[in-house]
């Protein structure tokens, strides 16, 4: 067991898979010699060499297109898009090419690849380098969508993503890179589509993803300490596949549902989950499901502004407390 940062866990997860399978190659902008702009891929170039770990030009379409061509013909590429906001300049591959090639070809074409990307706010980079765009990926049939919150999950879910036969979008949260956690020694392989109850409780279910998981946990501790409310916190870990059974099971026990989403409000993942719960567990609910989200607006750059719009521990506490006492 070693304590690793989320950042170092990325490199460890990729290295684990590259050491196992020579078909795994990795490329992106500044990822090789520089070790990535977030230093999440330090050491891979030295360990695996220039044929397997490559620096690309600033050509997001070429990066994703090349990943697809390599995947279709037998490799298992991992491609990095530095900031998830840049998906907007290569969205054809994410929306039209990766996810539809298998279906359109009636199963002939395979597309086993992973796109890693830095997602989320907290770095005060402003509206085009801070977004949470996991819902951009979630809405596309044919993709799988993963967003780990801990170093251990980074390693295990990276392995699951690389070994998965479908295209996987792997969202790393920029504000989690410096966080630390225990990671067991040896190979770790997790499962896509399995949510994790990270804090059991019986007064309410709080669903969260990525950076919102530690905030939901801190809020749950505060709700317990200050208000005697015992909330269950679930880390969804992947949006597709979605572990609906874990969600419905928890709501069946707690009878209240809260989602904590960093994405702007409209069409955030919580809306889909609330709709599922309303369809399938309406009579389990003792009150309306509540979504705690970033407002429907571009993100501001200034720290005081960004802190005012992202879901915070205090906003989660206040929303849950008010809702449960109503």
């Amino acid at each position: 067991m070693a304590e690793l940062t989320y950042r170092d866990a990325v490199a460890r997860g990729i290295a684990q898979e590259m050491a196992r399978d020579p078909d795994v190659i990795f490329f992106g902008e500044d990822v090789a010699k520089a070790g990535g702009v977030f230093k999440a891929t330090v050491g891979l170039y030295e360990q695996f060499g220039p044929k397997r770990v490559r620096d690309t030009p600033i050509s997001e379409q070429a990066i994703l297109g090349a990943a697809m061509g390599a995947a279709m013909t037998g490799l298992k590429p991992i491609a990095e898009i530095m900031f998830s906001d840049f998906f907007a300049v290569c969205f054809d591959y994410i929306a039209n090419e990766f996810p539809k090639s298998r279906y359109m070809s009636n199963g002939q074409v395979k597309c086993p690849l992973v796109v890693r990307t830095g997602n989320g706010a907290g770095s005060r980079f402003g509206a085009q380098h801070s977004q949470s765009v996991e819902n951009w990926a979630m809405m596309i049939p044919g993709l799988k969508v993963v967003a780990p919150s801990t170093p251990r999950d980074v390693v295990g879910l990276m392995a699951a993503a690389v070994r998965d036969p479908d295209p996987v979008i792997f969202f790393e949260h920029k504000s989690l890179y410096a966080t630390k956690g225990e990671v067991p020694d040896g190979e770790i392989v997790d499962t896509l589509g399995s949510a994790k109850i990270v804090r059991p409780g019986n007064h309410a279910t709080i669903l969260a993803l990525a950076l919102m998981v530690p905030r939901a946990l801190a809020a749950a501790d505060k709700l317990k300490a200050e208000h005697g409310l015992d909330c269950e916190v679930i880390d969804l870990r992947s949006l597709v596949p979605l572990d609906t059974q874990a969600i419905l099971g928890s709501v069946g026990r707690t009878h209240r549902l809260f989602t904590v989403e960093e994405n702007p409000r409209l069409c955030g993942w919580g809306a889909e989950i609330v709709s599922i719960v309303a369809d399938e567990a309406f009579y389990d609910l003792d009150g309306p499901p509540v979504r705690i989200t970033t407002p429907h607006m571009p993100l501001p750059a200034a720290d005081i502004f960004e802190d005012m719009v992202l879901p915070t521990v205090d906003r989660i506490v206040e929303t849950v407390r008010r809702s449960l006492s109503a």
């Binding site: 690309t56 070429a62 037998g74 490799l75 070809s105 049939p141 609906t244």
Partner: protein, 345 residues
């Protein structure tokens, strides 16, 4: 639009029958061009009978390019096509029935109705897809070539696209990508003078939309007569050899002309009067019939090939007309690799 066709050198009398191409290969090139022409003509006829559904983009008049590049390929080489991809798909040996069946949205179609005219794909024939988003497949072809280079595989990835593609970003990203890594990929621009409804010269900064950009990526400027299958074949052979030798990509601009509109919805009224007629004098099949004659191949041989092709296409048409619509049990298959479409438990 000025054009300077590059003609095949006239062979000397003695070299005629055993020049670098030779009789057997020439007959194959001829047969293939006739097959592509007649299959697409049949697709158009079936469209008029409302038996071809959706859209379709014909490449009537451009057959020499598909025939020449495909014939020069080895088994295992990979084709990446556009939505105007019927000819490139057929040229790799995909049966006409499979293609017409897909256009007619029948169960015998190449993808059993799930892809349609714009997405013809036959992995077993090396047809790695037909891409309906302009430029998308150039980077994808780079990725296939990267795999070949990484593994030491001998295959070449060949990527076909129109003149309109040269003005989209992915074209430029892919050319740079292929050039810096010396990838075994051949980019083939079919310049048929029109992007869709607009003349390419009206919307492009240079005269030759592909070739005049080649130097920006350190590549040779290549413009060829795309209506002469011999010229195409020789150019393809050289480019594939270069790719296999590790010398990197090629960008080849083939001058040609489409006899029909952009898609089935387009009567092509934007063409200046007389332009189509002028180009029909340079119809690739007409050129090739003259070439066969020049090499001493008799009219009877040509007529026999024509009859065999028509017979095959008639049989394929009847098979498609008799085929049922796609079976409903495949509607939800192959969204994900587990064979199904489940996104949740």
């Amino acid at each position: 639009m000025a054009r300077k066709p590059v003609r095949a050198p006239e062979p000397s009398a003695r070299a005629k029958l055993n020049d670098d191409i030779g009789e057997e290969l020439r007959l194959r090139l001829y047969r293939m061009q006739v097959e592509l022409r007649e299959a697409e003509q049949r697709a158009f006829d079936l469209f008029l009978q409302n038996l071809v559904k959706g859209t379709s983009h014909l490449s009537l008049g451009q057959e020499a390019i598909a025939a020449g590049f495909a014939t020069a390929m080895k088994p295992g080489d990979l084709s990446f096509c556009t939505y105007r991809g019927h000819a490139h798909t057929l040229a790799r040996g995909v049966p006409v029935e499979k293609v017409l069946g897909e256009l007619m949205q029948r169960d015998n179609g190449l993808m059993r109705g799930k892809g349609g005219s714009m997405h013809l794909t036959s992995v077993e024939h090396g047809v790695m897809g037909s891409y309906a988003i302009i430029g998308a497949h150039l980077p994808i072809a780079c990725g296939a070539a990267l795999r070949a280079q990484y593994r030491g595989d001998d295959d070449v990835s060949v990527c076909f696209f129109g003149d309109g593609t040269t003005n989209i970003g992915a074209f430029h990203e892919a050319l740079n990508f292929a050039a810096i890594w010396k990838l075994p990929v051949v980019f083939v621009c079919e310049n048929n003078l029109y992007m869709e409804y607009t003349a390419i010269g009206e919307v492009t900064a240079v005269e030759h939309p592909a070739a005049d950009r080649a130097s920006a990526y350190g590549l040779e400027r290549i413009v060829i007569d795309g209506n002469d299958a011999d010229v195409v074949y020789r150019t393809a052979t050289a480019a594939y050899a270069r790719a296999r030798a590790g010398k990197g990509p090629s960008l080849i601009e083939c001058m040609t002309y489409r006899h029909s509109g952009h898609s089935r919805a387009d009567p092509a009224k934007y063409r200046p009067e007389g332009e189509l007629e002028k180009w029909k004098e340079r119809d690739p099949i007409k050129i090739y019939r003259a070439r066969l004659k020049q090499f001493g191949i008799g009219d009877d041989v040509v007529a026999k090939i024509d009859a065999q092709v028509m017979q095959m296409i008639d049989a394929a048409t009847e098979a498609c007309k008799a085929a049922p619509p796609p079976a409903a049990d495949i509607l939800f298959t192959d969204v994900y690799a587990d064979g199904g479409w489940a996104w949740r438990n």
